[in-house]
C-alpha cells in the first residue's frame, strides 16, 4: 500500500477491451510497446484520469488514484501525472513559453518564466519561446508538449510517443535530457513507443501490450531475446519464427535436438521439454551466418541449411536477405549481414546460398504449440495484422 512507484491494474470490456497489469518503480522507465490500436494510449489515459476503466486499481506512491471496487476515482488534475499527448494537445492561444508556464502553477509567479525558458532550452527550442503552436513545425510542437509535461514536476510521467516527429539528432539530445531528468526526479516514467530501439535504449523494463492485454514484461533484452509466446515474439519484431518438434536430448553434448522438416537442429540443452513436444522457436536475423563462397569458416558445421535468396534489401551498411529454405514452404528465413559481406559473396535474388543457424542463438519458446505440422512457419504475419486492428472493435 505505502509502496513507492506506480501500480496499475485495469479491467474493461467496453468500449475498448483492457486487461492490463503494469508496475513501474520510482526512477524506473517502463516502455509500453504494442501494435497500433493495442490500447497503449488508452492505458495512459486511464492512469492520467482521462478515462475511467470499468474496474481495476491504480496506486501511485501509496496513494489510491483509482479503485473500481472501492469507488475511488481521482480527477485528472489531482493525480499529478505529467502527460505528453500523442496529438500534442498544445494550448493554441498560448505561446510555446506560455504553454510551459501553464504547467508551472506550483512555482511562484516570478520564477515561472525563467523555468519555462530553461525547459524549452532542454528540448532544443531556445529562440522559439514567443511562437504560437500554429507557427511551429510538427516536431517543434511535440517538443513543447514534452517540456510542458516535465514542467509540472509530476509524480509520474506518461509519454505517448513523445519523439515520433523529431529527427534523430534532436532525439539523441532529448534522450540524454530524459535520462538526466530521471536521475534527478526519481519518478516512474511510462514511455509508449513503437520504436524497439528506442525502448531498448531508454527503458529499464518493457511491457508488451496486445489487444489491450499485457503479454509480457521484463528487461528489454529479456523480452526481445526471450519472448514468451509467438504473439510476443512477433511484437518485438522477431522475423524468424517457426514451429518444430523436440526430437530428443543429448545430455553428453548438452544439446537438445529440434526437428524442423528434414533438418535436425542442435539447440541449447533444455531437458525439461519432453521429446515429441511441438514448439515454436526463433532465431535472430543476425545469428544466421552466411557461408563464404571462397573458403569455409568457423561456424559451418553448426546447423547448416541451404536455400535460395528470395529478397535482398540494402539498409545503409547492412543488408536484409530472405532465403527460401529447401523443404520449408511459405515463410522465408531472414538474415542480416554486412553489406560488404553480401557483395563479396555476390548475393542476389535467385542465388543458391548456404547458411548456418547458430545453435546457441536458437530460442525455443515455452509452451506447446497446437496443430501446425512441424515444417510450417508459425502462421504468417500479414493476415494476422488485419485482425489485430479489427480485434478490439468487436
Amino acid at each position: 500500500m505505502a509502496d513507492k512507484g506506480l501500480h496499475v491494474r485495469l479491467n474493461q470490456q467496453r468500449p475498448i477491451p483492457l486487461d492490463a497489469v503494469l508496475d513501474c518503480g520510482p526512477g524506473e522507465m517502463l516502455a509500453l510497446v504494442g501494435p497500433s490500436g493495442a490500447g497503449k494510449s488508452t492505458v495512459l489515459r486511464c492512469i492520467a484520469g482521462l478515462h475511467s476503466p470499468q474496474g481495476g486499481r491504480i496506486t501511485c506512491n501509496g496513494a489510491v488514484w483509482y479503485d473500481g471496487a472501492g469507488g475511488v476515482n481521482f480527477p485528472a488534475w489531482r493525480r499529478s501525472a505529467g502527460m505528453v499527448f500523442q496529438s500534442y494537445a498544445l494550448f493554441p492561444h498560448m505561446t510555446a513559453e506560455g504553454n510551459v508556464k501553464a504547467a508551472l502553477g506550483h512555482l511562484p509567479a516570478p520564477e515561472r518564466s525563467a523555468r519555462a525558458q530553461a525547459l524549452l532550452r532542454q528540448v532544443n527550442l531556445s529562440g522559439l519561446e514567443r511562437r504560437y503552436p500554429a507557427e511551429l513545425s510538427g516536431g517543434q510542437q511535440q517538443r513543447v508538449a514534452v517540456a510542458r509535461a516535465l514542467a509540472r514536476e509530476p509524480a509520474v510521467l506518461l509519454l505517448d510517443e513523445p519523439f515520433s516527429a523529431v529527427d534523430r539528432s534532436t532525439r539523441q539530445k532529448l534522450y540524454r535530457e530524459l535520462a538526466e531528468l530521471r536521475k534527478e526526479l526519481r519518478i516512474p516514467v511510462l514511455l509508449v513507443t513503437h520504436d524497439l530501439d528506442e525502448a531498448a535504449l531508454l527503458a529499464d523494463r518493457l511491457c508488451l501490450l496486445h489487444h489491450g492485454r499485457t503479454l509480457q514484461s521484463g528487461t528489454p533484452q529479456e523480452v526481445m531475446t526471450r519472448p514468451a509466446s509467438v504473439e510476443a515474439a512477433r511484437l518485438v519484431d522477431v522475423r524468424n519464427i517457426f514451429t518444430g518438434r523436440i526430437a530428443g536430448h543429448d545430455s553428453a553434448r548438452r544439446v537438445t535436438i529440434l526437428e524442423w522438416n528434414r533438418y535436425r537442429l542442435e539447440t541449447p540443452y533444455q531437458p525439461r521439454i519432453a521429446a515429441g513436444t511441438s514448439v515454436a522457436w526463433a532465431i535472430p536475423t543476425a545469428n544466421v551466418l552466411l557461408h563464404r563462397r571462397d573458403r569455409p569458416s568457423r561456424g559451418e558445421q553448426e546447423n547448416p541449411v541451404a536455400g535460395r535468396v528470395s529478397e535482398f534489401v540494402v539498409l545503409g551498411d547492412s543488408a536484409s536477405v530472405a532465403v527460401d529454405v529447401e523443404g520449408i514452404a511459405d515463410t522465408p528465413l531472414f538474415m542480416t549481414i554486412a553489406l560488404h559481406a553480401a557483395q563479396r559473396n555476390r548475393i542476389a535474388i535467385g542465388e543458391q546460398v548456404h547458411v548456418s543457424l547458430l545453435a546457441e542463438a536458437i530460442y525455443i519458446m515455452p509452451g506447446e504449440v497446437s496443430g501446425g505440422a512441424p515444417d510450417t512457419a508459425a502462421s504468417g504475419t500479414e493476415g494476422k495484422n488485419e485482425e489485430d486492428d479489427a480485434g478490439p472493435a468487436g
Partner: protein, 222 residues
C-alpha cells in the same frame, strides 16, 4: 437629448451584460459538455424569449412580477418596492429576454474547444477553475464576446418588454429606446433622429471595438 434616458440605457446594458456573463457561461458550458435528459428541451426553453413578441413577453412578466403575484409580493416584502416599475424589474426582464442572445453563441464556442486541450490542461495540474480561466474562457472568447455584444446591443435597443414592465418613469425606467419611440410617436422626427444617431454611434463604437479586439485574440491561433 434625453441624457437621463441615455444613462439609464447604458446602465441597463452594462448590468445585463455583467449578470449574463456568469449565468451565460455556466449555462453554455453545461449545455456544451454535459449529457442529460431533456437537453434539447432546455435549449429550446432558453430560446423562448426570442419566440414571443416582446410586448407579449412583457405582459406575462408584468403579470408574473406584479403586485398580485407571489413573486411580486415576495420582492416587495424584501426590498420595499415593487419589482415592476423599477430598475430591478427592468434588469430582471432584460436578463430573461437576453438569455438566448448570450447563451447560444457561447455554447457553440465551448463546444468547439477540442477535448484533448481540456484534458491536457487537467494533466498540467490546473484546477477546474484554472482550466476555466486560462483555457476555456480564452479559447471560447470570440463566442463569449459575440454573446455579450449581442446582449449589450439588444438591451440598448430593447423596447417592447421595457415598455410593458417599466412604466416609462423618467430616470428610473424610461430608457433611450422608449424616449426615441415617444418622439417618433409625436412626429418629432428631428429629436428621434438625433437620439437614434447617438444610440447607433455608441453601439457601433462598442461593437467595433469588441470585434476588433476579439478578432485580434482570435487571429493569434488562426
Amino acid at each position: 437629448m434625453d441624457w437621463p434616458a441615455l444613462a439609464l440605457s447604458l446602465r441597463l446594458g452594462i448590468f445585463t451584460v455583467l449578470l449574463l456573463f456568469p449565468i451565460g457561461i455556466a449555462a453554455a458550458r453545461a449545455l456544451a459538455w454535459r449529457r442529460f435528459r431533456g437537453k434539447g428541451l432546455a435549449e429550446a426553453l432558453i430560446t423562448l424569449p426570442l419566440v414571443l413578441p416582446p410586448t407579449v413577453l412583457g405582459f406575462y412578466l408584468l403579470v408574473a412580477f406584479g403586485g398580485n403575484s407571489p413573486l411580486g409580493h415576495a420582492f416587495e416584502a424584501l426590498f420595499g418596492h415593487t419589482l415592476v416599475f423599477s430598475f430591478s424589474g427592468l434588469l430582471v426582464a432584460s436578463v430573461i429576454v437576453n438569455l438566448p442572445f448570450a447563451i447560444q453563441p457561447m455554447q457553440r464556442a465551448f463546444e468547439a474547444i477540442p477535448a484533448d486541450v481540456r484534458e491536457a490542461a487537467a494533466c498540467s495540474g490546473m484546477t477546474p477553475l484554472e482550466v476555466l480561466m486560462r483555457i476555456e474562457l480564452p479559447l471560447a472568447w470570440p463566442g463569449i464576446v459575440t454573446g455579450m455584444a449581442l446582449t449589450f446591443a439588444h438591451t440598448l435597443g430593447e423596447f417592447g418588454v421595457v415598455l410593458m414592465v417599466g412604466g416609462s418613469i423618467p430616470g428610473e425606467t424610461r430608457t433611450l429606446a422608449i424616449a426615441i419611440y415617444d418622439r417618433v410617436q409625436d412626429f418629432d422626427n428631428g429629436a428621434a433622429a438625433t437620439m437614434s444617431a447617438l444610440l447607433l454611434a455608441i453601439s457601433l463604437f462598442a461593437l467595433a471595438i469588441t470585434y476588433v479586439l476579439s478578432g485580434r485574440i482570435g487571429r493569434r491561433h488562426g
